[in-house]
């Protein structure tokens, strides 16, 4: 039973850390919660068995790192627009082309 939680805790903690590094940092919250809960369960079981497994520390360290990264990113990283030069160029080209087309089109003020 304890082993299941250790494995699950590790997987979710590592997943949380990976997600926290990527732009998908918002998604890291779910594995962070799962890893944290797994850590608590392992801690509870260990206390009952009177053992001190190192795995709890590792899981909690990973949880703290990913939580810190996620919070930092959501607070300080303001969304920035990527390179729109190409889009602006396309808009400009389209405008020039549209002007030529509109010259050919019969524009009826009644419509």
């Amino acid at each position: 039973m304890k082993r299941v939680f250790i494995v699950l805790g590790f997987i979710t903690a590592i997943l949380a850390t990976i997600l926290a590094v990527t732009p998908l940092s918002n998604l890291a919250i779910i594995p962070i919660i799962v890893a944290f809960l797994c850590g608590l369960v392992i801690l509870f079981i260990s206390r009952k068995q009177n053992t001190k497994p190192k795995s709890i520390q590792y899981i909690f360290i990973l949880v703290i790192i990913s939580l810190g990264l996620t919070i930092y990113k959501s607070v300080f990283n303001k969304p920035e627009i990527g390179d729109t030069e190409q889009l602006e160029q396309r808009a400009e080209e389209n405008l020039e082309d549209s002007k030529e087309i509109l010259e050919e089109i019969e524009i009826d003020e009644d419509f």
Binding site: P23, L24, N26, L27, I29, I30, N77, P79, E80, I81, G82, D83, T84, Q86, L87, R90, A91, N94, L95, S98, K99, I101, L102, E103, I105, E106, I107, D108, E109, F111
Partner: protein, 259 residues
């Protein structure tokens, strides 16, 4: 004779109804599009809606331009650089030319509609990029109904509706030409609501959008748009549900408004 009079009256009413008294030249609306990822809303893209004047030798038209660009952090995953534009009559918002130039994660498509209102046809031009990078073109003439508009012109036309005269439950159908096919879009007035936005607390008209016979915008009352309950009727907030999830559109700034 009686029938002719009725038709004439209807035409007159529809022209009167379609008068543009909301959208000015030089209006700029900026939005943030968010997408729901397992319960967490993430900012995905910036959407801009701009209007400007375009002059030809014979007349002057209103250019309605909508652009969408993903934020920098998403560009490596799925880069979106979309451009939608419609050239309309500034008085009636009747479209004459529509262009859709989209680039979404390596997928490129260009669509152009040239309207001929007298013959009730639209000359469409579609350009698509093949895998080897070459572009192929398809030309088609599509028969349309007299009130058919493109997506952009329809979006702006919604703002021209006399919502203040409507009561909850009232609805209006729009015929939208999309991908060479006419689709009926129903706009239903739900209620009046006050919501907090980035441009302050606004009293809004809450409208529900539904697409007949399509699963693009799914569900009943799942696709909603909030227009300010003033003369500008600017869309300040929208909620939408699509087959791959749901998202929101929130206003960031609004400049160049008429009132």
């Amino acid at each position: 004779m009686k029938n002719h009079l009725v038709i004439l009256l209807m035409v007159f009413c529809s022209i009167g109804f379609a008068q543009n008294n909301t959208i000015p030249i030089g209006e700029k609306l900026v939005y943030t599009a968010t997408y729901n990822m397992s319960g967490i809303l993430t900012n995905i893209a910036q959407v801009k809606m701009e209007t400007s004047e375009v002059k030809t030798s014979k007349s002057s038209l209103l250019r309605l331009k909508c652009t969408a660009a993903t934020y920098k952090k998403w560009d490596n995953f799925f880069k979106i650089r979309d451009l939608y534009e419609s050239y309309v009559n500034p008085k009636t918002l009747t479209p004459y030319l529509y262009k859709r130039d989209i680039s979404e994660g390596g997928y490129y498509k260009f669509m152009q509609y040239k309207y001929s209102h007298k013959s009730k046809t639209v000359q469409s031009l579609r350009k698509k990029k093949r895998k080897d990078g070459t572009i192929w073109e398809t030309k088609k003439t599509v028969n349309v109904s007299p009130n058919t508009k493109d997506l952009v012109a329809t979006l702006y036309s919604i703002r021209n509706l006399d919502i203040h005269k409507a009561s909850p439950g009232d609805q209006q159908d729009f015929t939208v030409l999309f991908d060479n096919e006419e689709t009926i879009v129903t706009i239903r007035y739900v209620s009046k609501e006050s919501i907090n936005t980035n441009i302050g607390r606004k009293e809004c008209y809450k409208l529900a959008i539904a697409v007949k016979g399509s699963d693009v915008l799914q569900g009943n009352n799942s696709n909603l748009i909030w227009l300010t309950a003033d003369q500008n009727k600017i869309p300040v907030y929208a909620k939408f549900k699509i087959p791959v999830g749901n998202g929101e559109l929130k206003i960031e700034s609004a400049t160049g408004l008429k009132y």
